[in-house]
């Protein structure tokens, strides 16, 4: 079953035409990576799916429903979670409060939060600490956990390794693998190797359209069809 489908979407920031007829689909249980240079429209694709930057043309389907033009909270309430670039945790709220806000839509919020603590023991230790006082890696864990506790069918994860030390990135990758066990995932990631390691399929985006797509197995950034779109 197709979880997410973008069909010929055109998205603008003001008069800047960012997505220029982009189409992609994500099947249930998959991890799909969006790769490409900075500024080609990867983050905008996630924002368009969630209704934060609605498309002017084209259609967004989520779990078989046309969600184009719906409010972001309506789309999110249908089970689309977001782990945004730069984490965006609520820095003046405690770790527990961050998770409580996100778990409001879960059938059993306490159980979901307990599962998140099980997956990320560090968060349990710092449950009463303000999120702004956590390290970058811990904040990333919190952002992922926040995306997971809402009983989401799909998680949109934007640049999870950005600004993190290599050791922390490994922890984040493990967290994402754990999260993907029961959630379909779309992953935007600058680190090409990491994206290929994690994902089942990829879409290579350039100038707001998909220029390459396929299975990730065996794909490297040295492939000619990939390299010419990743280098400036």
């Amino acid at each position: 079953m197709t979880t997410l489908e973008l069909d010929g979407v055109h998205t603008y920031y003001g008069e800047s035409h960012i997505l220029q007829g982009l189409s992609l689909s994500v099947e249930e249980g998959e991890i799909v990576a969006l790769v490409g240079r900075n500024g080609v429209g990867k983050t905008t694709t996630l924002r368009t799916a969630l209704g934060l930057t609605p498309p002017r043309e084209g259609t967004v389907w989520f779990d078989g429903t046309d969600v184009t033009g719906m409010e972001p909270h309506e789309i999110a309430a249908r089970g689309m979670g977001w782990v945004p670039e730069e984490r965006r945790v609520f820095s003046h709220l405690t770790v527990a409060e961050n998770l409580r806000v996100a778990a409001h839509s879960a059938a059993d919020p306490d159980a979901r939060i307990a599962e998140a603590y099980e997956l990320f023991p560090a968060l349990d230790r710092f449950a009463d600490k303000e999120a702004g006082d956590l390290s970058g890696g811990q904040q990333q864990m919190l952002a992922i956990a926040r995306g997971m506790v809402g009983d989401n069918d799909l998680l949109l994860v934007d640049e999870p390794s950005e600004g993190l030390a290599p050791q922390i990135v490994e922890d984040v990758v493990e967290a994402l693998r754990a999260a993907s066990a029961d959630t379909t995932m779309v992953l935007v990631e600058q680190n090409f190797r990491l994206a290929m390691d994690l994902a089942d399929r990829f879409y290579l985006v350039d100038h707001g359209v998909v220029v390459e797509a396929g299975e990730t197995a065996g794909v490297t950034s040295e492939d000619e069809r990939i390299r010419r779109y990743l280098t400036a």
Partner: protein, 350 residues
């Protein structure tokens, strides 16, 4: 360098300084009782400032909207509360009954203005969220002017002089709240104690709403990152409506509180006075910060009390200097810490 300009300034200020008063009050400055009394009155004023400012900070914190109609709503609250008192309280009404009527008026005014504020958010503010903050400022300022003019018209038609003050509701204040009472050896105005009690109830109620309810949690999260809250499946627009309504209701509660206060009292001028003091408090505390508003209200209240004492009974006799000092505090804060004591550099926004 010529000293002529300095000499000119000193010669202008010198007549304001009364050497006799300086000597007479010099001992009092050091007197613990005087200091304690001034401090207690400062806390009383702080309670009033907190009550009139907390709604403004709530609205800005979540919505990023600076509501210039806040003071006008407080003015309406003062008159509506006064109306209830004037209609119900008579010469034979007892003290307890009068105070009960006051609380009934408080609840009624809060309910009515909360509903009106919510309606205003839906009808007027919501259509312009996507525009720059200038539109919101102009719109709420326009609403403030309309409310003030309508109040003037109604008061004129009813034969009630809006300026300087409508005395009727003040006359309903029970005797028990007039005069001073001894508290730990200090003579404190009873009305200040009453205002502190109400301010404390408002503070605890708002704090409990923000920290103990799920809706309060949404509001605190939304004041940091509205878009993120939406992305978590929360209807921020509904939260905006509720918060704007509650913020408006709290402004009106502040107005009811001022109704019996001889320093304020019901007056159309209350609109601009409340707005100015509320702005001073929320800017010093940090726009959008509940804790900041609480702390700043205390600071401004005590600064007001100290300077009022200083400039009316102390070294320099010039009552207007008290207000100047408070606005000077605001200027200093804007220069050294523009985000305020507890503010973050960016709050609100959507």
């Amino acid at each position: 360098m010529s000293l002529a300009p300095l000499v000119a300034v000193v010669s202008q200020v010198a007549p304001l300084v009364d050497p006799g008063a300086l000597l007479a009050t010099g001992g009092a400055v050091e007197g613990i009782q005087t200091a304690a009394r001034v401090l207690a009155e400062g806390i009383g004023k702080g309670a009033v400032y907190f009550t009139i400012a907390v709604g403004l900070t709530l609205v800005f914190g979540l919505m990023g909207v600076l509501n210039f109609a806040h003071g006008a709503v407080a003015m309406v609250g003062a008159y509506l509360g006064g109306l209830v008192l004037v209609l119900v309280v008579g010469a034979n009404t007892g003290t307890i009954a009068t105070i009960l009527v006051f609380f009934v008026a408080l609840a009624l005014v809060f309910a009515v203005t909360t509903a009106a504020g919510s309606a205003m958010e839906v009808a007027l503010i919501r259509p312009i969220y996507d525009r720059t903050p200038t539109y919101q400022i102009l719109l709420t300022f326009g609403v403030s002017l309309i409310i003030e003019e309508v109040a003037r018209i109604v008061l004129t038609l009813r034969g009630i002089q809006p300026d300087p003050q409508w005395q009727a509701p003040m006359a309903t204040a029970p005797d028990v709240l007039l005069g001073r009472t001894e508290l730990l050896g200090i003579g404190v105005r009873r009305l200040y104690l009453f205002e502190v009690a109400i301010g404390a109830v408002v503070a605890v109620a708002v704090w409990a709403f923000l920290t103990k309810t799920l809706y309060g949690l949404y509001i605190r999260a939304g004041s940091e990152d509205t878009e993120m809250v939406q992305a978590l499946g929360i209807d921020v627009r509904q939260a905006f409506t509720v918060v704007f309504g509650v913020g408006t209701g709290l402004a009106a509660v502040g107005g009811v509180l001022l109704m019996w206060d001889p320093i304020w009292g019901p007056s159309v001028l209350l609109s601009i006075d409340v707005l100015l003091y509320a702005f001073v408090v929320v800017i010093i505390g940090g726009l959008g910060s509940f804790t900041g508003t609480l702390v700043a209200a205390g600071i401004v209240g005590i600064a007001d009390s100290v300077t009022t004492w200083l400039f009316t009974t102390g070294i320099v006799t010039f009552p207007g200097l008290s207000e100047v000092t408070i606005f000077l505090l605001l200027v200093v804060m804007l220069i050294i810490r523009p985000q305020g004591l507890y503010g973050v550099e960016e709050v609100g926004g959507h």
